[in-house]
């Protein structure tokens, strides 16, 4: 594929990944007070695992190479973008609050809260939105390059 269209595809995969992260963050924020889940226990915050899109030699070489021992990478196509490969659940236990009247309270009267910090989720949300916009800008740059190429030889 033409590298300009390929870079638009790559940036689009970045937008998809960032939007997925944003939906997980929104879910974490929505469950900031969820002390009971179908599986038992409080809600645990979720994070997306993103990785460079697999399926080419270059991806594996890129992750194993450093600037000193492999200055030139040979063979294989350029990167094919990014993909969400999984969701991980943060196992860190949340804070405990003393609420003996709560039906979920343990013998000592404590209720385990979700391990979601709305402040750090908001920071992550801002980061994801910023990276989304950065990918949009990269697409716009590729678009202006393509239209500059179309303009070669145009009669002024």
């Amino acid at each position: 594929m033409d590298p300009l269209f390929q870079s638009m595809t790559v940036s689009a995969s970045g937008m998809t990944a960032e939007r997925f992260r944003m939906s997980l963050i929104a879910n974490n924020l929505a469950n900031v007070d969820t002390t009971n889940t179908p599986g038992g226990g409080p809600f645990q915050r979720q994070e997306a695992i993103v990785a460079e899109r697999q399926g080419d030699v270059w991806a594996t070489m890129a992750t194993g190479a450093s600037a000193s021992d492999a200055p030139v990478m040979e063979g294989g196509p350029a990167g094919a973008g990014v993909a969400v490969v999984g969701i991980t659940t943060d196992p860190t236990p949340g804070a405990q609050t003393y609420d003996p009247g709560n039906p979920l309270a343990d013998a000592q009267g404590y209720v385990r809260q979700p391990n979601v910090s709305s402040i750090s989720e908001m920071v992550d949300l801002m980061g994801a939105a910023q990276h989304y916009r950065a990918n949009v800008t990269a697409i716009e740059d590729a678009k202006s390059m393509a239209s500059a190429a179309i303009g070669i030889g145009k009669i002024a």
Binding site: P3, G14, A17, E18, T63, A134, T137, G151, I155
Partner: protein, 133 residues
């Protein structure tokens, strides 16, 4: 059959320069898309070996002596061999990619591409004027 590209000296090299910049755009876009990928190492295209070619190609003059200065072989057989790791584009806090530095490179690469395309367009317009009066 007359090769149209041969009528304008340097046009083949301009096309190669455009192709290389388009390829670099793809590599940089991949860096940006993988800003959150764990263990990802930022890459870039080595443009230094191509810079000499560009210096001689950009001030295009339709004369035989100038055209002779332009090397006829590309710096590398394959574009993929030009990919290098880019510690400059790596993030400061242990992440693989610095999005701001990568964005700056993407913008300047797009600008260089448009500049080359504009220069090529000017050369073609000149050649048209020469042909049609």
């Amino acid at each position: 059959m007359v090769d149209v590209a041969m009528m304008i000296p340097g046009l083949t090299e301009v096309a190669r320069a455009l192709s290389l910049h388009a390829f670099r755009q793809q590599v940089l876009a991949n860096d940006l898309a993988n800003a959150h990928s764990t263990g990802f190492v930022a890459s870039d295209v080595d443009m230094t070996s191509f810079a000499d070619t560009l210096d001689q190609t950009l001030p295009l003059r339709p004369s035989g002596t100038q055209a002779a200065l332009i090397p006829t072989t590309p710096p590398s057989d394959s574009e993929d061999q030009l990919i290098v790791t880019a510690p400059v584009l790596a993030g400061a806090e242990g992440t693989g990619v610095d999005p701001d530095a990568t964005m700056a490179e993407i913008a300047s690469n797009a600008l260089a591409y448009q500049a080359i395309a504009t220069a090529a367009g000017g050369e073609i317009t000149l050649a048209k004027t020469g042909l049609m009066g």
